[in-house]
Point group: C2
Chain length 236, copies 2
């Protein structure tokens, strides 16, 4: 409640509590090529990540948004870097992290593909009567874990997302420890929920000191509330 | 040249040469689920298929457009059936074919996934430390071949598309014979071309009596010229 009160104060006062802070936000899906025409994708619309980027910019942060393919307009006040694959997203994030001005806040909201196709083909795979091709997968780089690694360039606050089915809070709590990030925003993407692609979101904020479960609200509202919580944390 | 002259006559006169004809057009990619959040897709934008549907409707045809996920608005004057997977597209096409009013013209412009994932998971696949999952693929139904099968409900004119790399005309000519369709519209989707997703297209029309290569033009213009060629053929 204290954090909420501070956040409400910032918002109502029109102050820019994140002025002078640099934020890196990832958003959207990644597309991992199979051949020149096919790829593996996921149902992320980018709405939540873009909303967070816009909300951080509205609070005064200098925001770099690294985004996979979405149908969304660029959020106002953000520098947008468009990428397709997880490896391209990692490269863009590291370029931002290692730029002259360090990143204070990193929010990894993108739904990065865990795997890519090993040895994607330069030619379109054909039905040749010999049965379907084998799709050998290989693990993609872990962008959240990479940004969470200790070091002089580590952002002071690294926030990951967990898109989970099943026991969402328990799985996301384990993910927070495994990745080494500071907060995890966990949401339920089971079949039947409309989190992926929809306009609403129901999230749990998992921090070292416990779990805060927010009511279902629009992704814009989640973005605003998260940006306010970030501003309150940074002000501590 | 005779066909072109007839087509130009139709267009300039404002006549509706396809009035009373029913057309089925497929467009866009299909999305084949891997698990609740991931899927296999392809780079089809749906621009060419949607342009053909609009052009056929403009010439008076009663058009049913069966389309995978695209960013495009519904073309004017068409009945649009939205699907995601190849199996859903086949079902929608067969429903149209077997409706009370038979289909006279079928244009299969969709980039249907050749393969889907066998046994797609109900739960999100996780990185469990045991290495990437094996993605077993299985062949999807062949919508063009199905619509081309002889029978009382076969449309009088069935047109397929071939998105090829390499020797485009030879490969598409073989495809025409293999599928049993009447015409193939072949285009080159090699890396470096912008056919997939772009606004222009360079096509070859492969018929029983030979190959007609059209100059590069906008996808709307390809759609209009193809609709005119269809109208000229139907008028024969």
């Amino acid at each position: 409640e204290i954090i909420d009160a501070i956040a409400a104060f910032f918002t109502e006062s029109g102050r820019k509590p994140l002025a002078g802070k640099r934020a890196l936000v990832t958003s959207g899906p990644t597309h991992e090529p199979i051949d020149p025409v096919r790829y593996i994708a996921n149902r992320s619309s980018g709405k939540q990540g873009h909303a967070i980027a816009a909300a951080l910019a509205a609070l005064g942060a200098d925001v770099t948004l690294v985004s996979g393919p979405t149908r969304l307009p660029d959020p106002p006040g953000c520098t947008v870097v468009a990428i397709e694959t997880a490896r391209e997203m990692l490269a863009a994030c590291l370029a931002a992290r290692d730029a002259a001005v360090p990143v204070d806040i990193a929010v990894c909201a993108a739904a990065v593909a865990d795997w890519r196709v090993a040895g994607a083909s330069d030619r379109k795979l054909k039905k040749d009567g010999g049965g379907p091709p084998a799709l050998a997968l290989t693990e993609n780089p872990d962008i959240l874990a990479t940004l969470s690694q200790a070091g002089p360039r580590r952002p002071a606050l690294v926030i990951g997302f967990a898109a989970e089915t099943g026991d969402v809070v328990a799985t996301a709590t384990a993910k927070r420890a495994r990745k080494g990030c500071d907060w995890i925003v966990a949401n339920d993407v089971s079949l039947g929920t409309t989190t992926f692609g929809g306009t609403d979101n129901t999230v749990h904020i998992i921090r070292a000191d416990g779990v805060e479960s927010w009511p279902t609200m629009g992704k814009d509202a989640v973005g605003a509330r998260l940006a306010e919580a970030i501003a309150a944390h940074v002000a501590d």
